[in-house]
Symmetry: C2
Subunit: 195 residues, 2 copies
Amino acid sequence: MARSVLYMWMSLDGYIAGPDDDVGQALGRGGNRLHASLGYDGTDETVGVRPPGPSGEVFDELMATKAVLVGRRTFDHAGGYEGDHHDGVPIFVPTRGEPPAPASELVTYVTDGIESAMRQAKAAAGDGDVLVHGAEFTQELLRAGLLDEIELGLAHVLLGGGRRLFGELAAQVELELTRLLEGPDVTYMRFRVKR
Amino acid sequence: MARSVLYMWMSLDGYIAGPDDDVGQALGRGGNRLHASLGYDGTDETVGVRPPGPSGEVFDELMATKAVLVGRRTFDHAGGYEGDHHDGVPIFVPTRGEPPAPASELVTYVTDGIESAMRQAKAAAGDGDVLVHGAEFTQELLRAGLLDEIELGLAHVLLGGGRRLFGELAAQVELELTRLLEGPDVTYMRFRVKR
């Protein structure tokens, strides 16, 4: 059975992007430092290159996921991944109202709710995992009890402002740490969300 | 030379107290879970008892500090530690306006700014460290470049709301991880604040 796993890089003070994140500056001001541990400098040349150390291990796991479930906002900000997030796996995007035309045959807009979207993504992933992405979307999934695991890349930096990952949740959430990986600039914490 | 070290327990989503923290409920609603890893249940019987595991190690270091520098709000919420935080070490409380009468001869209200307060606390600590406490106060110290280290007890829980440790800072802060301790309910991250 596929698990849904959020992969996210966050500053110690809870931000996944610096201030003024937008299309073309998806990580906001200063937010590139969140991904610096991955060797990404924001240029196309570095994206998708396997980083060394524990970041490489997490990178491999992320790349081994068999479906993507992403919030609409994040999807749009990322230019719809130009229709292919990684390795041609299917991408599911929960959407309110009339969906646009999909950017590729890999993209499915889901209009009947996040539960349905998760069901479809897990079915598509088969024995692989579902890669979850998007901050507000993560909060929705947590509220609905639909997120199974969190792989948090905790960057050793305080951004001071920007877009927060968890925001104000309606409920308290219990987590079980299942793995801790130490890197020089980032600590990876893997959690199982307790029900 | 004494170092100033913040000792703080924080949820993964950045809260050091649940909603509605106040005198008599210093950790807010649900906030007791932040200290659960220490074996504290909020009653007087458990406070000050050395917990097992990595929490015990951090507890020992905290108790070995030779002076306390605490924000006025936190100090008042904690009932002024009844005049003695631990082992009779001196307590410095930066204060605006006319200071109240100190609760004991260990307490010094400092009225000429946080730089002066830090200087006095470090002088009093001698070859020991200065224990820093208080969230808004920590933000002040970070802005002023007066905080040397952070010992963060990252509780494996999302509180969903409450009082945030770092809030909105004016500047980005770089941190160097110097130690990582893994406990079942809390991960301890020790950082040096880079200048």
